[in-house]
Symmetry: C2
Amino acid sequence: MTEDDDGRRGASFSPAEHAELALLLEVAGTPKPGNVDRRRDFPDLRFEHFLAGAVGARRGLDRAAAGAPVGEAFERAVAGMAARQGGGNTQFGCLLLLVPLVSAAAGGDLTPGGAAAVAESTTVEDAAGFYRAFEHANVAVGDPPAGAGDLDVRRGGEAIPALRERELTLYDVMEMSADRDGNAREWTGEFRRTFGAAEGILADDGPVLDRAARTFLDLLAEEPDSLVAVQHGEAVAADVSRRAAAVRGDPEAVAALADELVADGRNPGTTADITAAALFVALERGVAV
Amino acid sequence: MTEDDDGRRGASFSPAEHAELALLLEVAGTPKPGNVDRRRDFPDLRFEHFLAGAVGARRGLDRAAAGAPVGEAFERAVAGMAARQGGGNTQFGCLLLLVPLVSAAAGGDLTPGGAAAVAESTTVEDAAGFYRAFEHANVAVGDPPAGAGDLDVRRGGEAIPALRERELTLYDVMEMSADRDGNAREWTGEFRRTFGAAEGILADDGPVLDRAARTFLDLLAEEPDSLVAVQHGEAVAADVSRRAAAVRGDPEAVAALADELVADGRNPGTTADITAAALFVALERGVAV
């Protein structure tokens, strides 16, 4: 294969292009109970907010593909995500997973080990970029662990001196919340669910948007969503997962669950994040669009 | 405003970002009778093909924004559009309008006069890029004018010697088909309908996807679609426009027309192209997303 002057091979997509496309396929997949999708808007968070978020995030994804540090690329992606739409936080969690995966892909090792190596090699500066990113979007988060109030992500860049003093890398920060945040668990656990779901997408049949929707439901059934847990408690999150498991394979029941979750304000956002990350891996591995 | 190292101003979008977003908003707008949209797929041309087409086109849009010649940027955009999806020609016509508009915006003069200046300054090399672009996508076109068989766009790059011999610029090529192609008419007519529709989008109310759908219907009602004319004849194209005019403002009638046009294989693609171009101008002028 020849590379052109952008370093892209022939007709194929770069990792940054695949990551942006993964964001778009994730939000388009329908039905994704409890989330905005191709057929569903929320009153203040609409489909077009995600389209603009994906386009704007590309700046940071391009940086990650070019070898920029993860924290810098992530902050840039989140700033772009928020730059041109009024919906607020559309894809913060997706980008937290996609940026290290794009780095791993650009380095030629998009594997659980390669992604773990990127995560483990992050620095205090990467952690600072992560904290700064919170200033660009209103992200739903839980309270920090006891004794870690100076590291509350809601402090944004103001928490950076505490990061530096304790010499905490972005990986360290993720480890601190891995017990209650599904995305942090991907970071510290070789992106286990992401790579597993990607295999499922590749093994599945039919249009990629249908595969995306099935993957979302499988992931939701498999493990309680940590955003639902933060917003409504662990019992509710577990109940949502049980209900997702019960409706799989029954389109009418899935549609009814989608209506119920929206009516009750249950938004399984972490599950959508992992779906987007899995779509990225599947695209890099050649899934047809 | 400060510019960062990519030349982007603060938090705003670059012309290439706005152009990619315009492609996405165009295809998402619903209902757009006769076209793929957020709520409608065709059997072999699905929504996700347009998502991948928009992401891939960005390569060429970035080139246009960086000052590359129109023909080179256009060929690059079309090649990227086709690189990662199986639907075929998704946005060839949109890109034919967007590339010179992005060039005009990057040059600081996104006005009818500024766009006309870009079109009029095209060269024989730009025409060669346009012809090469046909090799990347299967584009529905009419027969060439009598005596111009050696310039048939379906010959792709093989027609380039004839272009060079006759010293035809891309503007000249557009002039040759302006009488039967709505996009060529934009090129040679100061993008009149594009800028007019952009004003309509800016003056309209509500979510931008609703504005996109209304704009499509207004444009279709205003003038017969030239893709429908190429594929089904001018009488059919005129009939489609009359029916579009009759249903405006009546959501149920619009939905019924959408079903009828799809059933009859009427695809007003040129009208969608101008809608995308108008969305780009409206985005550059600050329409809220």
